[in-house]
């Protein structure tokens, strides 16, 4: 493949859909919040909740401790709500959805038409600030599984939303989480009833389309006693030379014996070769293992975004609960990533495992930042952490900042980290067998990431592997 062709292939989701938008007035104010709440036809308690967050936001300051620095965001110059006009009156079925939207998702490789069957994956498609369509609803309903946009859940299942929303990420948690609580627009809501195994993968596909818009989605997943769910999340955005903000909140709650598997392939527009444009991906993801023997597993492949700044965490409250974090973060050109996890052990016999692979190329900066905290009461707990970094060239950086706290004598924490470059011998071996430099690097990097890629559901694994190769194109030689 010629280098020209490569360049064009760099970010294949960079197109824009020409669609008429319906937007909230620019700026962050109580008016905007009331506007969002009204357009979503929310009950009063929800509006009050948002306003409470907004009042809290007024006194909070943006955090400054992170490694990637970014220019000051003008929160008054953003649209907080943008929806395709055709979505104003919610379409009742997929047939009523604007064909242009369907086409957009087809282009992204996410067919919303159930006849086309995406190998048994139910999809909720979120376009800017609204959920466009949710597939396979009927089949899930039969099992009592609720999978719908969160705006719908607020109206149809207020008790569940009231009980769990903000219970893992409190509204006053930190600046971006609070901002999200005040202005969140849509996202997915999942409830798995007791002793149910969700028969298919649930998936949300996020797309930012409109310019000067921030996307603030909110996802809430509740796995009731003895249930299991695997949830996938994908995201893309058009190529623009402005920076766009994406500040999402994701809350997971696992009750007794429940298991949630949450996988993300994050491929927001990373900006161009000189670091112009791209998404600021400032996301708060947190899961609570509330019940005994519960399990939450995060898997993430982070290849996009100009700045990625997120720490999917597990609060291991229930005895014998398990938290896992598998991550690949690839940064190229001027991308910056500061990502990792927090494992907070509170219950007895809790276990956690962290596998993080960071790859840095071009002028990028990649940081793993994590916390393992084993409390006084978390007897017989265990943590194992492994973070490996790969550097390509001497203009990029790889950093590891783990915080380790052990407060009792029966628990064990193990942490290992290495930083290295691609082994010359391995490269030579591949070259010798006829692979060119780029193919060889892609092969070796995929091998380096294998432990994490294995954790992804089948549908995602193939795509993620390709993504790993594409993200590094042009970084060799």
């Amino acid at each position: 493949m010629k280098s020209e062709e490569l360049k064009n292939q760099d970010y294949k989701y960079g197109f824009t859909t020409e669609i008429e938008n319906f937007k909230a007035p620019k700026g962050l104010s109580e008016k905007t919040i009331r506007f969002i709440s009204e357009i979503k036809k929310e009950p009063k308690w929800m509006l009050d909740w948002r306003l409470k967050a907004f009042n809290r936001l007024k006194v909070l300051k943006e955090p400054k401790w992170q490694k990637p620095k970014y220019p000051k965001i003008n929160y008054q110059d953003l649209y907080y709500y943008s929806a395709p006009k055709s979505m104003k009156d919610k379409p009742k079925s997929i047939d009523e959805v604007d064909p242009k939207l369907i086409e957009t998702y087809n282009k992204l490789g996410i067919p919303l038409n159930e006849q086309k069957r995406l190998s048994g994956v139910a999809v909720d498609a979120v376009f800017d600030s609204v959920s466009v369509a949710t597939t396979f609803k009927g089949e899930l309903d039969k099992k009592g599984i609720i999978f719908c946009p969160i705006s719908e859940a607020i109206q149809k299942h207020p008790d569940l939303v009231k009980k769990y929303l903000g219970s893992v990420i409190p509204i006053s948690d930190h600046y971006f989480a609070t901002l999200n609580s005040a202005v969140f627009t849509d996202g997915s809501f999942v409830y798995i009833p007791p002793n149910t195994r969700c028969p298919m993968e649930l998936s949300t596909y996020f797309r930012i389309n409109a310019s000067e818009t921030g996307q603030f989605e909110r996802t809430l997943i509740i796995a009731d006693k003895g249930s299991y769910v695997s949830y996938l999340e994908g995201c893309t955005a058009p190529m623009r030379d402005e920076n766009q903000l994406h500040a999402a909140n994701v809350e997971l709650v696992a009750l007794d014996d429940a298991e949630i598997k949450y996988s993300t392939v994050q491929n927001w527009y990373p900006g161009d070769k000189d670091g112009v444009g791209g998404i600021y991906n400032f996301v708060t993801k947190r899961g609570a293992c509330r019940g005994r023997n519960s399990k939450i597993s995060w898997t993430q492949v982070e290849t996009g975004s100009a700045i990625t700044w997120k720490y999917p965490s597990c609060i291991l409250q229930g005895d014998n609960s398990v938290g896992e974090f598998y991550s690949i973060a690839i940064t190229n050109n001027h991308q910056k990533a500061d990502t990792g996890t927090k494992m907070i052990h509170l219950g007895k016999n809790t276990k956690s495992k962290i596998i993080s692979k960071g790859i840095s190329a071009g002028q990028a900066d990649n940081t793993y930042r994590g916390l393992v905290d084993i409390g006084v009461k978390a007897k017989n707990s265990r943590n194992y952490t492994q973070c490996d970094s790969l550097l390509m060239g001497n203009k990029c950086g790889a950093h590891t900042v783990p915080y380790i706290r052990n407060k009792n004598s029966s628990s064990t924490i193990e942490h290992e980290a290495t930083t290295s470059k691609i082994n010359e011998d391995q490269l030579f071996y591949c070259n010798q067998r006829g692979l060119n430099q780029e193919e060889a690097v892609s092969l070796i990097v995929n091998g380096f990431c294998k432990e994490v890629l294995q954790q992804l559901p089948m549908e995602f694994a193939v795509e993620a592997q390709k993504l790993v190769s594409i993200s590094l194109e042009g970084s060799v030689g």
Partner: protein, 414 residues
């Protein structure tokens, strides 16, 4: 803060008016920002403000330097003696060395070496430093015997603060083994020391920090060292027995092929809190750094290790290693670690490991099946755990002395 400190500048000897004004200014800077607390990232695990405010109500600066007791020296190996009383250079005996080659004198203050303040305790030190020592080893001279700095503290230091500063110059092709031996009484006091070390081309400095008996001291020591081509620095921190101790080491590996080793074996018991914070700056290619930190934590002690390896983009072929291990013997004890890597060069070998947990049950079981009772088995394993640090000391007599010292400490473990 102002209420806590009751400082009299007249207690510091021979200051002219300008010096007093300068010091007062530094002291004001210090008061404005106060003692570092946990909001400061470097003090996240050791909230000094809380610790000092909890244990001290009224702090004054010390002006007592008389010491009449008979000095109890080490007899296990031949050495040169330097005696410091409450931080001030009292006497020295370097009769094993050639006179013109090793020089030691009183250092008034470090101020001329520092232009910028390292942290807030640096302001405090600049304001109140009573001096310390300046030690210089001439070019091409290898010291025949180690130098022991006997750091005596008199028994009347309750609620006092001692600020001093030292400078060590190890010139080209020279070698020095320096042992800092703290001997403190029962009184409760604070010590704040800043030390500047310069190791020139091909020079070697071995530094051992040791504590004789248990002491109610609250110590802070800041070491900043610069290393020349092919130089070597080895630091052994064995200062168990203090109520609070934080040693902050900032290494600058400025020239190629320099190497730096920091090893620590601490055995912390009741109400003890020790932190080792290191920053190793690899600024040139082909340098090596090696850190190994081992803590044994009893009752309600707290051990902290914050280590950072920084590798500049030109520092290719860097080999940096960092390991921290803790044995937690009690549920009240706590171990915190933050082993950090910041790397901008790709052809490097950098890794770190950290583990904490209790004594391996299987190892105890093994020993007990061989007829060793539980308590002895535990002690044996703890000894083995810490011995890994001493193995790196080549001088047999010093090593035996240190092993004896640590064995006494382990014997006290319940």
């Amino acid at each position: 803060m102002e209420r806590l400190f009751n400082i009299d500048f007249k207690k510091i000897n021979s200051l002219n008016d300008k010096e007093v004004a300068d010091r007062k200014k530094n002291f004001e800077f210090f008061l404005k920002r106060g003692l570092p607390n946990k909001k400061n990232e470097n003090w996240k695990f050791s909230d000094l403000n809380y610790i000092i405010s909890k244990n001290f109500k009224n702090i004054t600066n010390n002006d007592e330097y008389t010491f009449d007791e008979k000095i109890e020296t080490i007899h296990d190996f031949d050495h040169n003696k330097v005696i410091l009383v409450n931080g001030l250079l009292k006497s020295c005996d370097l009769h094993f060395e050639e006179k013109s080659k090793v020089k030691i004198e009183t250092l008034k203050s470090l101020e001329s070496f520092h232009h910028q303040s390292i942290n807030n305790l640096d302001f405090l030190n600049k304001a109140l430093s009573i001096g310390g020592f300046y030690l210089e080893v001439q070019q091409n001279y290898k010291c025949k015997k180690p130098i022991i700095i006997y750091n005596y503290f008199t028994p009347n230091l309750n609620n006092k603060i001692i600020n001093n500063s030292n400078k060590i110059q190890v010139s080209q092709n020279s070698e020095l083994t320096l042992i800092e031996y703290n001997i403190g009484g029962k009184s409760k006091f604070i010590k704040n020391t800043f030390e500047k070390i310069n190791i020139d081309k091909n020079a070697v400095l071995k530094n051992i920090i040791l504590q004789k008996t248990k002491c109610n001291g609250y110590f802070y020591k800041n070491i900043s060292a610069t290393q020349g081509y092919n130089s070597s620095y080895q630091n052994f921190i064995l200062s168990s027995g203090l109520k609070f101790n934080k040693i902050e080491i900032d290494m600058i590996l400025e020239k190629e092929k320099s190497s730096c080793h920091i090893l620590s074996g601490l055995n912390l018991s009741k109400e003890e809190h020790q932190e080792i914070k290191t920053q190793i700056n690899h600024l040139a290619p082909n340098c090596k750094s090696y850190q190994k930190i081992k803590n044994v934590l009893e009752t309600d002690s707290k051990g902290v290790y914050q280590g950072k390896i920084f590798v500049k983009d030109i520092a290719q072929k860097t080999d940096a290693y960092q390991l921290s291990k803790a044995l937690i013997l009690n549920d009240q004890a706590e171990f915190n670690a933050k082993p950090e890597l910041e790397i901008y060069a790709d052809d490097v070998k950098c890794s770190h490991g950290s583990s904490s947990g209790s004594i391996d049950e299987e190892a105890i079981h093994y020993l007990m099946t061989r007829g060793i009772e539980l308590r002895a088995a535990k002690k044996l394993l703890i000894k083995g755990f810490l011995n890994e640090i001493f193995e790196n000391i080549p001088e047999e007599k010093i090593r035996t002395f240190l092993e004896k010292n640590i064995a006494e400490q382990i014997d006290e473990i319940q």
